[in-house]
Symmetry: C2
Amino acid sequence: MAQTGRECSIANALAVVGERWSLLALREINLGATKFDQIARNTGASRDILAARLRALVTAGVIERRLYQEHPPRHEYVSTEAGKALRPVLHALMEWGDRYATEGDPPTVLAHDCGAELRAQAVCSHCGGPVAWGENTRLVRLGTVR
Amino acid sequence: MAQTGRECSIANALAVVGERWSLLALREINLGATKFDQIARNTGASRDILAARLRALVTAGVIERRLYQEHPPRHEYVSTEAGKALRPVLHALMEWGDRYATEGDPPTVLAHDCGAELRAQAVCSHCGGPVAWGENTRLVRLGTVR
């Protein structure tokens, strides 16, 4: 994708999902609200904007539009593998929002299979040690600025 | 914050940082590019849009504008604790982008202190077991739709 600025997978990711209504639509689809009307109501997005965002996400391969009823034809939206792989992004936003952007108790709470309320911790998949961004991590390579 | 749709910390977070240039500016500031001109060049943002986004981030308490030279007065932008806490969001976007939105090798690579190239894995901070969103997690409470 032609763009100026740093060569960067964050920028590339945001070119696909870097818009409020896109990520909120993906939240709903990943929660199982797959119909257009549900997604519109549950996100609060205007129908025109939502329709445009869903089309773009289909084109990008993040969701699929699927016929679930033939007479009359009715469609739903489901996550592809790429859409499901956005869950860590959504969860990181939720944890940040719980702490810095929401007053009062977290509106949504997950539990882990172990039974505990879920608080995720990032670990290094090689050594299993905790990851503290910028403290015990370092840059090996940084995308160049074009 | 008055809004329709689901009561949700993801929505609340995106109301603060849910805009492409805001997150790219935070990427640069967290990388240590703290001057306006650097942030503009390294993100590719237009100066007007960038100035508006930085002002909003200062207002939201995610970054601070700091005088680093008195004659002539020169300012830089630094992350607050809330801004540093966005690193997991940025990293989750980078990992997704590396896989689904970037052609070829990842432009930016981090290493963990153990020496290995960093691939983060989310674990439950209670039991230490792996977290697979939607597979070994379940909703305890879901924000209501207003």
